[in-house]
């Protein structure tokens, strides 16, 4: 499965890119996180503390156990600070 990944705020800064396209067999967001973290230290650093992280699947907030079947875009970012 091909996914577009996008990163924001300090997640973007730690990973070093604003987004990328990946091929993955991950079934859930959590599996994707584990796969990326195993790949390179910068991902492991960005994803070290999942409680400090939020994710969205196809631009909707999601849990880390959300399934990826049919997804096109997954985003990772810290808790939001709008307003």
């Amino acid at each position: 499965m091909t996914l577009d990944l996008v990163y924001f705020a300090w997640v973007r800064e730690r990973i070093g890119v604003a987004g990328e396209r990946v091929d993955t067999g991950a079934q859930t967001v959590a599996e994707l996180v584990a796969e990326l973290s195993a790949r390179e230290a910068r991902y492991a650093a960005a994803f070290a503390d999942l409680s400090a992280l939020r994710c969205a699947v196809d631009q909707e907030l999601a849990d880390f156990d959300a399934p990826l079947a049919g997804a096109r875009e997954v985003a990772f970012f810290p808790p939001m600070t709008g307003g």
Partner: protein, 146 residues
């Protein structure tokens, strides 16, 4: 419902006046405006990053939820992204309703959800460097009351 996500500044007075103008059915209009605050006196600028596409979608969903919960005659949300300096306005919401309780509750609800559920991230640039603003426990807790 009027939702705008933009980099440029906005004219709060003109927007508030236009929102309130000509409302013969709504007796109550509430506005909220967020301003870049310079607590320590050394803030040079604030940088707001957002998630294009999801931002408009999330704000529209939040405004729609407000419209189902309260009897509203109008909702306006303007939220900026990009660079701004202390004293500049970051965003505003406005609500119109027949009764003031609805207008107040909807405006507070919108603010609580925009704070924690709309994809914006603030970074403060001071003389000493740059730092991402951390989400606060109280902002997350504020959602619990709705």
């Amino acid at each position: 419902m009027d939702v705008r996500v933009q980099e440029s500044g906005f004219d709060f007075g003109a927007e508030a006046a236009a929102f309130a103008a000509g409302r013969r059915d709504a007796g109550a209009v509430v506005t909220f405006t967020g301003i870049v605050r310079d607590d320590g006196g050394d803030l040079r600028e604030m940088l707001i990053e957002h998630y294009p596409g999801m931002t408009e979608r999330a704000i529209t969903a939040i405004a729609g939820e407000a419209a189902t919960r309260w009897a509203l005659d109008g909702v306006l949300v303007i939220h900026r992204h990009g660079r701004m300096t202390p004293g500049e306005m970051i965003m505003m919401v406005a609500t119109a309703a027949r009764h003031r309780a609805d207008a107040f509750a909807a405006a507070e609800f919108l603010m609580d959800y925009l704070k924690s559920r709309a994809p914006f991230w603030k970074k403060e640039i001071t003389a000493h460097g740059a730092a991402w603003v951390a989400a606060t426990v109280s902002d997350e807790a504020a959602l619990g009351r709705w």
